[in-house]
Amino acid sequence: MVGQRASRWWTTGGLLILVWALFPLLWMVSLSFKDPNTFRSQTPTFFPSKWVWTNYQTVFSDALFTSALRNSIGISLIATLLSVVIAMFAAYAIARMDYPGKKFLLSMALAIAMFPQAALVGPLFNMWRSLGIYDTWIGLIIPDLTFALPLSIWTMSAFFRQIPWEMEQAAQVDGATAWQAFRRVIVPLAAPGVFTTAILTFFFCWNEFLLAISLTSTNRARTVPAALSFFTGASQFQSPITAIMAASVVVTIPVVLLVLAFQRRIMAGLTAGAVKG
């Protein structure tokens, strides 16, 4: 009896968490379907009086948003890929080797994770202009991947430390070549950790805002978070609010899909890097 009552309390708690997490999303979706010309009122309601697709048509016909979407996808994917590859080398060395500077590298990664990025926008702005990479993809990819590196390195080295590396030698003793041992034994063991790290790194790059508004000035490289903050509406007479919500819904979809598909991995990855692996 007592156990049952307790479990009912925990279920209620779980429901409250879900409401807390998802209620703002419901508001975002609801607002994105309101009529941009009539939704403003003295007494606004939660749900639209009439559901319309207009806002989604607006964002997908606006060059600011479509180019921002392209930039965001391209920049986030490339920065994630590079960060994961660079971190993979470092994490492999950290997990398997003993060398001077290993502690220094880990401390440096930690320091950079805590670094106030706003302290760098001035110098980077100036450096990027003189290097000619201001307002370009590469100009955002470089700082994005740098600030994502600590996250990638820790998460992956935590995963790599759990791999039973002896199995590689065991396979070689059993007659596999070095390459076969690596390919058939180590890669399948390491792949989940690398993949999880890639998801977390992608979230990080997808979210990045400060550098995106500081190091860009046009549609060439402006990402979605930056474009959202500059969006002024389909016309100067129309409020941008509902269109901004529609654009927010669009950029939240990949996040929701990744979370739905890889919930367990993301949980494991988030905690592996921060508390004992």
Partner: protein
Amino acid sequence: MTLTETRVDQPAPQPAEVTDRARHERRLGLTLSAPAFIVMVFVTAYPLVYAVVLSLYNYRLTDPAGKSFVGFGNYATVLTDPVWWSDFATTLVITVVSVAVELVLGFGFAFVMYRVLAGRSLVRTGILIPYGIITVASAFIWRYAFQLDSGFVNQWLGLGDFNWFGQRWSSLFVIILSEIWKTTPFISLLLLAGLVQIPEELQEAARVDGATAAQRLRRVTLPNMKAAIMVALLFRTLDAWRIFDNPFVMTAGANKTETLSFLAYRQNVTLVNLGAGSAISVLLFLTVVVIAFIFVKGFRTDLSQVRGDR
């Protein structure tokens, strides 16, 4: 751990071989770490040094010819300007309030996620969504919920035409709310990871000895989670201290809601006042160093766990 195990498996090598292998391992380790090291130095260490140099000059991009050496003049200007201190106070309030609320809320969430049976994975999936959503979107969602002509909050709470963004404290309330919504999942997951590590036998033993739930929490759970709590606190404190997106989107710094990161951005990028802007950058960096130092030395936060070099 793995290292020692692998070594045990190998036959005891000759001394000459050891140094050879060790040297090879060293070189390979350094080579593999080099790309990460170089990228990090190029994008953070070098610009930081550059900022220190620039901060000693009076230098505006709009007037490059007027560049002149002023020593610590910029620092004196910044530190005697009420804007710096107002932004400092704003940042401090946001950090203290949001981290305190998140710690309590995060604990609640962690306990629920630990104990809940029905729909456990649903709860864990749900909580990851605020974590993954972009901060700018979160800021807009909450801003429009509270805004007079679009939001439902005043209708639901019967507040009439109270303008949340009309003054400092109510604006900060909404900013902090968005910050809490977006980042509590992170802190609660770290706490959950700490909670899971406490051996069930400890709780059981305390229960057998007649400890009440409150006593078990205070004497068993919390002491065993100290490391996880401190790490979560350190990360969230520094994260909140650097807050930028929420005030930028919600108030654009109006009504004294500008934060230190926002100030650095405004001076450097908007006003291209690189001399004073760099001084602000360096000061902001120093505040972060001080906070990290307080946590590591003052509260003895064990970073080897985070760093992974146990």
